[in-house]
Symmetry: C2
Subunit: 193 residues, 2 copies
């Protein structure tokens, strides 16, 4: 068995990230993330999802991710997980909320599934901004998994600021485009039932 797991991050992601101009507005950060999710439709790396981490002091982009499940053969690689791993490696810490770094926001084109909800909780992120909802992702065939009734409240109780449904309509448009293009709905559980 191999003693390392290498995850390659296709260059197209960081090339696309050059389009982002730092802005204090959640809507501007979300506009960039939704544009990345739309760009990912032609990259064909995985599901129609993008996420990015931004510093909340100067609003610069720390790391960007898109869903890499199909490209990298790992079901863990949701956009949020890719962005979190990249930020932690770049900054040299498993805890983005360690008090030495500025607070950071995770902006994601669709609200975190169960896995990404937990990944956010462990990451040290201070704020989550999401676009489309679980219901929107479910409506094109995904199963976002078992979450508590009020996931946003559960994060807030842990000191994480949460803002949902930011530019939701634009985020939904990308999901629908993926469905129209016949994109892979890779949740095996749903497909085999």
């Amino acid at each position: 068995m191999s003693n390392s797991i290498e995850i390659s991050i296709p260059n197209c992601i960081d090339q696309f990230a050059e389009h982002y101009s730092p802005s204090p507005h959640d809507e501007d950060k979300m506009r960039f993330v939704i544009a990345a999710s739309e760009a990912s439709l032609k990259w064909g790396l995985g599901g129609p999802f993008a996420a990015a981490i931004f510093r909340l002091d100067n609003h610069q982009l720390v790391s960007a991710g898109v869903n890499l499940i199909i490209n990298q053969g790992l079901s863990i690689l949701h956009a949020e997980v890719v962005a979190i791993m990249r930020a932690q490696r770049l900054l040299g810490t498993y805890d983005l909320g360690d008090g030495k770094l500025p607070p950071m926001a995770l902006v994601t084109s669709t609200e975190p599934c169960t896995m990404c909800l937990g990944a956010t909780h462990w990451s040290g992120i201070s704020k989550v901004v999401s676009g489309a909802t679980d219901a929107d992702a479910n409506s094109i065939g995904f199963d976002e998994g078992p979450k508590p009734d009020d996931w946003a409240k559960a994060l807030r109780e842990r000191g994480i600021e949460v803002k949902t449904e930011v530019l939701r309509g634009a985020a939904i448009d990308v999901l629908k485009k993926y469905q129209t293009l016949g994109g892979n709905i890779y949740n095996s559980l749903r497909n085999t039932q």
Copy 2:
């Protein structure tokens, strides 16, 4: 920014895995996993948790993981996530339930946190066997995150068999030993509140 993320799997894990003899009994698989969690206390790679994936046809070990958060600097690397990633890379698929492979079980020394619950849901695993509970992990200071009230039921509804509290006492003993040794409770949210 680096365009790849490399996760090194320390050799001690696979050297330890040679101790496992295939057995059809959940308790035997759990005994091996709890022993791995105990061995991990001296390896110092992360929290006191281990997990492994087994084929359910011949009961052979597919992949083993321990918590590598501190060693690898990534909050994503819970034992379950490490085992799932290793199995998927070894078998060349992001879906362990794709119908071409035998059904597989994830055996974990402590029940899946929110992130690992979601990771299990996406992985294609057919069965989950857990030892210690969330309450046991919380009692030594961790915060396992927001989960639905009945996480086992939520997985069962998705066709995944779940067996909890298998050798729970032995699994708790390892958690307590970690606490006695002054192990790092790395959930920043709890620590900063």
